[in-house]
Assembly symmetry: C2
């Protein structure tokens, strides 16, 4: 035992050196770390047949400096024109900036960077100061046919930041990152797109001091990437927060938006409900920078009442029971929980092991009929008015009981909440030892949930030495999402890419949506036609032609808009319709 | 007093004769009537300086038969081609059909018909049997450039049914009016667009018998036109039901839709939430027949639990207090009421008079500080789970009390509910005596509500002998709607039209939306550019060009899509931007 304790890998504990590839690979705070627990290491050793020796040799750490040696593909006069708009201090042509602001956090991107492979990058990085800068930049780029890509927080996991055609990348988080107004009467906040989650939430919680409001507010949107994602990014990619079951998806949180497009600039109207034709405010959401640039948003906000939060967790005897209870809860019309998550048997059991459940607890659960690789954990919170949270928690507990769920109290929920934003930090540690952890996620109606879960799981687990943990974490009366986490040991890009393609194929062939809340980017673009059908993808393309006739906005496959059917089939490996 | 009682006008009590203009003018059931009460008559006599004599002479009753004497503007071969698709029994060219299916229930339309003025009508009326018929009709019409307009229930109040360019009108309510499936697991219903509200609701409530479900369901959408509107119409025009505060607007109730357009047919995907680019399902909503024809819908449905309904009503000392309390309720995060309505002082006091409030009650209210032309009535219901409805009602009562609201119990709500769908019947009676009752409605955020209410009311009441009653009846955390009911005595089309234009101008110049839930049609089309701005109207036009490059779908001003700025300015009388 003593020996085992000392076999902890030498996790990297220092911030990456400035200017290195690793500093681009690293998630979040350069000085922030969250290492896999000893339980994780033991699990991986067992699953991947790895020895202490394997965990003593890191490789492909990306400590090399970023060097590009690629000319800037813009003319002197173009560069001068852009400098004249934003000021020379807000224009960067150095190799490091060009690479850094061309990368998100997609597993393939990180694997490549660690190998020293640098793909398409921006020619020039601009830090616009305000929406007027953005207007002038877009006008100039449209005139000169220079591709324009937007970068804010860079936490995309689907190649959403890649400037596939080069050109300029606009970093919106440098200057356009402020909360402009809080309208307490309407419960709305007007915010710039480059504001990160924590700053936004902090400003809302401090609204009495900062904006003279009577109450404190919350944004209601807490994705896992909360700390390193931006308000504009939430809307442009259709994200969902971990409390979306109560507060709604990013789509639902937007009252109005202001856009700059090559075809013109406009601000949608601020009405709570209208019947004035198709809603332009909604048409723009999820356009991932392909129609124009989101330069200002008016978001719905909510009262901040943490004192009312109630926690719950249950262990169900089976996945079927957990799903049935969840459906009953979502359709019960007594209100909805905020966080609400159910883990499938594999995720549940790995979780119990990883968090070191004592043996006597396990024995107790088994005695109660909650058996390994059958039982399923459910955890969550209820938010809102005090009496409302009491009622909703009570109702959930009753339905859980009716479905064989055993209450585990609020502990699991509180524990989960503590690390809700830090899980991504583990990825660097794992990649140092050649282990990839990645996720794919999908949406599904209740009546297809089990088929989809089974079909995708079978595919993932059919690969030798591959782990698959699944949960549902965003609920609606009509269904939920499924979030597949898979772990495998490989440094082989081709092998990895093909396995990932296979999972996407299985999601679609089992009737899941191509994405529930990660967006499409370039990674999922090749499946867009197969998924939406030609007629519907053509609707998005017609809008693209309208806003951006010269195809300068995030060109090169984003959302699949400028991929032809032939290229889609080739990239996805799908035979097509 | 005895004499007064006998002065009741000789309201029409018989169904209109077949084939007459009046049979087209009449709302709802030909044998259904709801006459103004004696209180109404007394009020009108007083407001409009009308005598018993005035109420003894009806005029412009429209008893004349419909005669058209206009050739069918289609070729023989076009007619034969259409007959070959739907069968001769489903094609009508008779004058009566051509007029009947070209008219909605807009006040101007009814005023005109009563004068014997018949405006643009369809050349041919088709009753498609199923979506395949619709596909073939649209293909043929696109080939031959024949305009296509859709008619289902014909309760439009903004010239939404008018086939301004002639062509064919498709009546979807004749055959395409069935509930196809209820999916109990997903809580969805798949329904044809021409199904009327009562048949749809009845089928859902009887789902255990008709579809073998365990539970009974409700559609959650109950507009005032419920009995004479169709599911497809609700979505195509973005309606809101009287319980939208709880169930959502028609926009929110749609999981997926199937469309036939000249550019192709498609069915949107059935996912509860997605991040796969702009949502085509939402892009189509509110397109009012200009992009294509909605041929099938999958709607969200809700548990039918009438036993849990709770009623409430309050009298507030002022409009400001009623609005403040309502805002607190909508933002309180304890759940939302279903029906929720607040009446402004004029509507409140007229309502009290009309429903014959005894003098001692009035005196009691006044003693309590609830004074005439200050006090405001609030009434509503709570639906959902039993404990939830108890909680929400209790919370509403507490907030009402904090704002000076005096509870009047559930009586007012129950009474209102009894006549919730029959108010439109009064219009025929009033028009027989030259009195027009009409409505315009708008959406607004809380912070602009009072300005908008005041501005529009001032304009309406500045006209001599004109009544204006206002309520808010569809609530959101960010705001509500305002519904202006105005009454005036005139048979003059020009005078009426100009007054109505003036109200629309006042709504827009005071920051209201052009419509909250009546849609746009042709009546409000001239203001679309002023309201949305050129850039946003151009987005809708780009979609139009995509779906319908030959402009055959509901052409001629609908939504303002084929109105140029010049014509808009001329029609609206607005100077434009």
């Amino acid at each position: 035992m003593h020996g085992k304790r000392h076999s902890r890998p030498a996790w990297t504990e220092t911030a990456p050196a400035r200017g290195t590839l690793r500093s681009i690979v690293k998630y979040g705070d350069p000085h922030g770390f969250k290492h896999p627990s000893d339980g994780w290491v033991a699990m991986m050793k067992s699953e991947f047949a790895m020895s202490d020796d394997d965990f003593s040799r890191k490789a492909e750490e990306g400590h090399e400096p970023v060097t590009l040696n690629r000319p800037v593909g813009l003319t002197e006069s173009q560069i001068e024109g852009l400098q004249a708009i934003v000021g020379t201090e807000n224009v960067a042509t150095d190799d490091y900036s060009r690479v850094k602001y061309s990368y998100g956090k997609t597993t393939e991107e990180l694997m490549e960077l660690r190998k020293g492979i640098v793909r398409e990058v921006a020619d020039l990085v601009l830090h616009p100061r305000h929406k007027e800068d953005v207007q002038r930049i877009v006008a100039l780029c449209n005139e000169e046919r220079i591709p324009v890509t937007v970068f804010s927080a860079g936490s995309s996991v689907n190649l959403g930041c890649r400037p596939e055609k080069g050109g300029v990348t606009l970093v919106l988080s440098t200057h356009m990152n402020r909360l402009l107004r809080v309208n307490e009467e309407n419960q709305t906040a007007t915010v710039q797109p480059g504001m990160f989650g924590p700053a936004y939430e902090e400003a809302l919680q401090q609204a009495p001091v900062r904006f003279g409001t009577k109450r404190r507010y919350t944004c209601g949107h807490f994705p896992q990437s909360f700390e390193y994602s931006s308000v504009g990014g939430w809307v442009a990619t259709l994200g969902s927060g971990q409390e979306s079951t109560y507060y709604g998806d990013a789509y639902d949180l937007v009252l109005s938006q202001e856009y700059v497009t090559p075809g013109g600039s406009f601000k949608t109207l601020d009405f709570p409900g209208t019947a004035t034709g198709p809603k332009v405010n909604d048409i723009m959401k999820g356009s991932e920078g392909t129609y124009g640039i989101l330069v200002e948003l008016t978001m719905k906000i909510f009262r901040y009442m943490p004192e009312n939060t109630r926690y719950f967790s249950f262990m169900y005897p089976s996945w079927e029971a957990a799903v049935d209870a969840s459906r009953e809860i979502m359709q019960g019309e007594f209100g909805l929980p905020a966080v609400y998550r159910i883990s499938d048997p594999e995720e549940t059991d790995r979780g119990l092991k990883l968090y070191g459940m004592p043996k006597f607890v396990d024995a107790f659960l088994i005695r109660k009929g909650l058996r390994p690789m059958k039982r399923c954990l459910c955890l969550g919170t209820v938010k809102g008015d005090r009496d409302y949270t009491r009622l909703v928690k009570r109702k959930i507990a009753r339905i859980a009981g009716e479905h064989g769920g055993m209450s585990l109290g609020g502990y699991a929920g509180r524990k989960w909440e503590k690390t809700r934003f830090t899980e991504p930090y583990m990825r660097e540690d794992l990649q140092d030892y050649g282990i990839q952890i990645d996720t794919l996620e999908t949406s599904v109606t209740w009546d297809n949930l089990h088929r989809l879960h089974k079909g995708v799981r079978e595919y993932i687990t059919s690969r030798p030495r591959t782990m698959c943990m699944t949960h549902a974490s965003h609920f609606y009366p009509q269904g939920t999402n499924l979030y597949f986490i898979f772990l495998m040991k490989t440094r082989d890009l081709k092998e990895y890419g093909e396995f990932q393609k296979g999972i996407i194929d299985k999601i679609l062939s089992n009737g899941g949506s191509l994405s529930h809340h990660h967006g499409i980017g370039r990674m999922l673009a090749p499946w867009m036609e197969l998924h939406l059908g030609n007629e519907q993808l053509d609707v998005l393309r017609a809008l693209k032609r309208h806003f951006d006739p010269r195809n300068i906005m995030n060109p090169g496959a984003q959302l699949g808009l400028d991929l032809g059917p032939e290229r889609m089939r080739k990239m996805s490996g799908c035979p097509g319709e």
